[in-house]
């Protein structure tokens, strides 16, 4: 006698909560073989705007946390991912149609990448900042600070690794993120949201939308409260239009990347979502 499974309802992740789309819309996700898996929430413009509000509200706490604390929180995500790896392997196998070994390798790399980025939190400022020997009686120092709210179009051809590769780097320095998951491979993103919700990531730091990137991305690109736009997974969209829209508020924009090496781990991806602040401190006469 086989047991009847209890399937999961896949919803959005906004402000630390799991709402359905306010529009009530869903779209069907199938396995690589075409079997029904789930009706995933199809985020609307309003959902995107709610996510941005949540992300903006979370900036102060996340950017204001100590780098050590952010590192611990990000490392905690890796710990929890490790404990739930079977779930991720199962979802990747079903949706991507790859072998369990390949899915397992993807999960391994995603976990290791979290660990790699987690370790950067309290080192990035040392590598990206410096004291400046100006010609005068000043202590002059340049330090990186988070840009603010970063909107991300996640890589579309990867369930977990692409998503992690795009979301982790802006979090390192204290940005908050609104991310549009892979349209056809969204399950890992929502399962990751469950990991985020049960680790110590404050609500609103990562907000996950599922649905049509083509529909949601223009609202993110034009929204005045978004500071940066990562188009890494937007290669098949009208991404130049998105970049043009982003120019209205002079957002920092990263271009699309293709292939398995998209959003490869690098210091540049962390620095891309930072601003350099230079402070001149006057020295007194002694």
């Amino acid at each position: 006698m086989t047991r009847l499974a209890v399937p999961k309802t896949y919803k959005l992740y906004i402000g630390g909560k799991f709402p359905r789309s306010e529009s009530g819309r869903t779209y069907e996700i199938s396995t690589a073989k075409g079997e029904f898996v789930a009706n995933v929430a199809k985020a609307s413009r309003k959902d995107a705007r709610d996510a941005i509000v949540a992300a903006r509200g979370a900036v102060k706490g996340w950017a204001g946390a100590t780098a050590y604390n952010r590192g611990q929180v990000l490392y905690r995500i890796a710990e929890l991912l490790e404990g739930r790896r079977a779930q991720f392997v199962d979802e990747i196998t079903r949706l991507e149609g790859v072998s369990a070994a390949a899915a397992s390798a993807q999960v391994d790399e995603a976990i290791d990448r979290w660990v790699w980025y987690a370790g950067w939190t309290d080192k990035h400022a040392q590598v990206a900042g410096n004291a400046n020997p100006v010609a005068g009686p000043y202590f002059n120092i340049s330090v990186p600070e988070p840009t603010g709210v970063v909107a991300v179009i996640a890589p579309q051809d990867s369930s977990l690794l692409g998503f992690v590769s795009a979301v982790a780097p802006p979090l390192v320095t204290g940005n908050t993120v609104v991310v549009v998951a892979s349209e056809q491979l969204p399950l890992s993103a929502i399962s990751l949201a469950e990991v985020l919700a049960t680790s110590d990531v404050p609500g609103g730091v990562v907000n996950i939308l599922t649905g049509s990137p083509a529909e949601i991305a223009p609202w993110l690109a034009s929204h005045a409260d978004v500071n940066a736009l990562d188009l890494v997974g937007a290669g098949s969209l009208e991404w130049i239009d998105l970049q043009v829209a982003a120019a209205d508020t002079l957002k920092r924009v990263l271009p699309p990347e293709e292939g398995p090496d998209a959003a490869a781990p690098s210091l540049d991806r962390i620095s891309a979502f930072t601003e350099t602040k230079t402070v001149w401190h006057t020295k007194s006469m002694v």
């Binding site: 002059n140 002079l250 402070v279």
Partner: protein
């Protein structure tokens, strides 16, 4: 004659060896432009200085082609050591001709000679010295091993610091191994053309630096030229937006240094004497034609009256007049168009209910002049508290708590600079942490140094000029991080570290540029 009056002490113009007409500087030679030429005038008396060529689209094309040739054949093959030596030569030549450059700058721009002589030109030399030393040390710039030049840089600069902005653009570009086509501002081309003579004296290889004079159309042709790899712009946020749209999807690297509406925050424990000098320097330096000017004074409420009274007293001693006079504190407004804008916004300030004050001062009959102006009783919603005036106009607002000061300071789409005046070091650190601005001056204002990165947050643009960070604007990372390389190799990707930093052409049929 009171003790405040001085006999005229004009700097001699005889040091200048101006030509009647200047061509474009392309491929190491001055050539006639095919656009309609224009006159550059002295804003202090509207007198004619010289006739300037205007670069047409075809001229820009020639300049870019010269820069491309110089990049392919000469500059990209030259050792960093030799590139550095050319930059050192330029720095020395700027020092040798410093007085001439200062006089030309004050004549063409209207800024006081004491500023062009003691600030602009010394910083120009310093900028070339600083980046000269980087040319053979790029591996240490924090951009990975063997970072690569981008190719041809198209640079468009403003009229407020004509020669200094040229140095900010050209020095790092050449140190990093790029070649340059630079467009000076329409109203201030003179010092850039004298600089071209300096490049000839330095024997810089032809085409490495090309200077195309003209108006907005020339700049637009340069920015949109398909063979330009990098665009650097300093100017208004409006034009910056348009450039960001133009460049979208092309893969051209873009850095923008745009407008600002800086808060200069004075706490009640500030050293008031220094603060008054700092406020004056913050907004009246260079007639307020400074993108990082401290145009919003935020004063703690309990010292507001004292600060404003002393500020008015100090302003009454400033001397406005002939930019070439060594005793002049406030020079001429750079152009009639800018004067009109300052007048219009000041009028709006009055209409919105703020109180306007200026010292008594004699306005010269000819030329473009605007008396230093203070608005008190300014509300955060007033246009003079929100829009960049780019003139000698200070808006004074008040606050009660540090938190309120921070909130008001950050209440702007700009984020270029800010000032903090307090005797309490721990407060400086805490407030500086929370100000969203790229440059923060504590108990000082408007300091610049080639070693110190400069640039904005938010709608003040992106990228940094100055310091190690300024090199990143002109280089592509040589190799990715060791981890990324491992992943790439594991995925069978071919290493591209040795290839030149080519642009990816704008993909066809992906998006329609607006």
């Amino acid at each position: 004659m009171s003790f405040l009056e001085y006999a005229p002490a004009p700097e001699s113009r005889s040091i200048l060896k101006l030509r009647d007409a200047y061509g474009l500087f392309i491929d190491g030679e001055f050539v006639e432009g095919t656009g309609e030429g224009f006159a550059t005038i002295s804003p202090a008396d509207e007198s004619h200085i010289a006739t300037i060529s205007a670069a047409s689209e075809a001229d820009v094309d020639r300049a870019v082609a010269a820069a491309r040739r110089a990049y392919e054949r000469t500059w990209s093959k030259m050792s960093g050591r030799d590139r550095g030596k050319y930059l050192f030569r330029i720095a020395r030549l700027v020092q040798e001709r410093a007085r001439e450059l200062a006089v030309a700058e004050s004549l063409d721009n209207g800024k006081p000679i004491k500023e062009s002589r003691d600030v602009d030109v010394p910083l120009v030399a310093a900028w070339f010295f600083y980046y000269a030393g980087w040319a053979d040390k790029l591996d240490y710039a924090g951009l990975g091993a063997s970072p690569r030049a981008l190719g041809v840089a198209g640079q468009v600069i403003p009229w407020n610091f004509p020669l200094l902005m040229l140095a900010w653009k050209i020095a790092p570009a050449l140190a990093a191994g790029n070649t340059v086509v630079l467009k000076p501002a329409e109203t201030t081309p003179l010092s850039a053309l004298i600089f071209a003579e300096i490049l000839q004296q330095a024997d810089l290889p032809p085409g490495v630096v090309n200077i195309v004079t003209g108006a907005g159309a020339t700049g637009a042709a340069l920015v949109s030229h398909p063979d330009v790899d990098k665009v650097a712009f300093t100017g208004s946020t409006g034009v910056g937006r348009a450039i960001a749209k133009e460049v979208a999807g092309t893969g051209k690297k873009l850095t923008l240094e745009l407008g600002g509406k800086a808060a200069n925050i004075v706490f009640d424990d500030a050293p008031i004497d220094q603060a008054i000098e700092g406020i004056v320097n913050g907004i009246f330096f260079n007639q307020g034609h400074v993108c990082c000017a401290g145009s919003r004074l935020l004063v703690q409420e309990n010292v507001h009256d004292e600060v404003v009274d002393r500020l008015k007293e100090r302003l009454s001693t400033l001397r406005m007049g002939d930019p070439l006079d060594k005793n002049t504190d406030i020079g001429a407004i750079n152009s009639r168009a800018q004067l009109d804008r300052i007048r219009a916004l000041s009028k709006i300030g009055e209409e919105e209910g703020a109180d306007r004050w200026s010292p008594d001062c004699v306005i010269p009959e000819n030329g473009f002049w605007f008396a230093p102006t203070i608005f008190t009783n300014v509300q955060a919603s007033h246009r003079i508290a929100r829009e960049e005036i780019f003139g000698p106009v200070l808006s004074v607002l008040t606050f009660r708590t540090p938190a309120e000061a921070i909130a008001k300071a950050n209440n702007t789409p700009y984020g270029l600079s800010a000032g903090i005046w307090t005797d309490k070091g721990s407060r400086i650190l805490a407030v500086a942490d929370r100000l969203r601005a790229g440059v923060i001056w504590a108990n000082t204002f408007n300091r610049f140094d080639p070693a110190s990165p400069f640039g904005g947050y938010k709608e003040s643009g992106y990228g940094r000029e100055g310091g190690r960070h300024g090199l990143a604007a002109y280089l592509a990372p040589g190799s990715t991080s060791p981890r990324a390389r491992q992943t790439a190799l594991a995925a069978g990707a071919t290493a591209s570290a040795s290839a030149p930093a080519g642009r990816t052409p704008r993909p066809l049929k992906k998006g329609v540029k607006k």
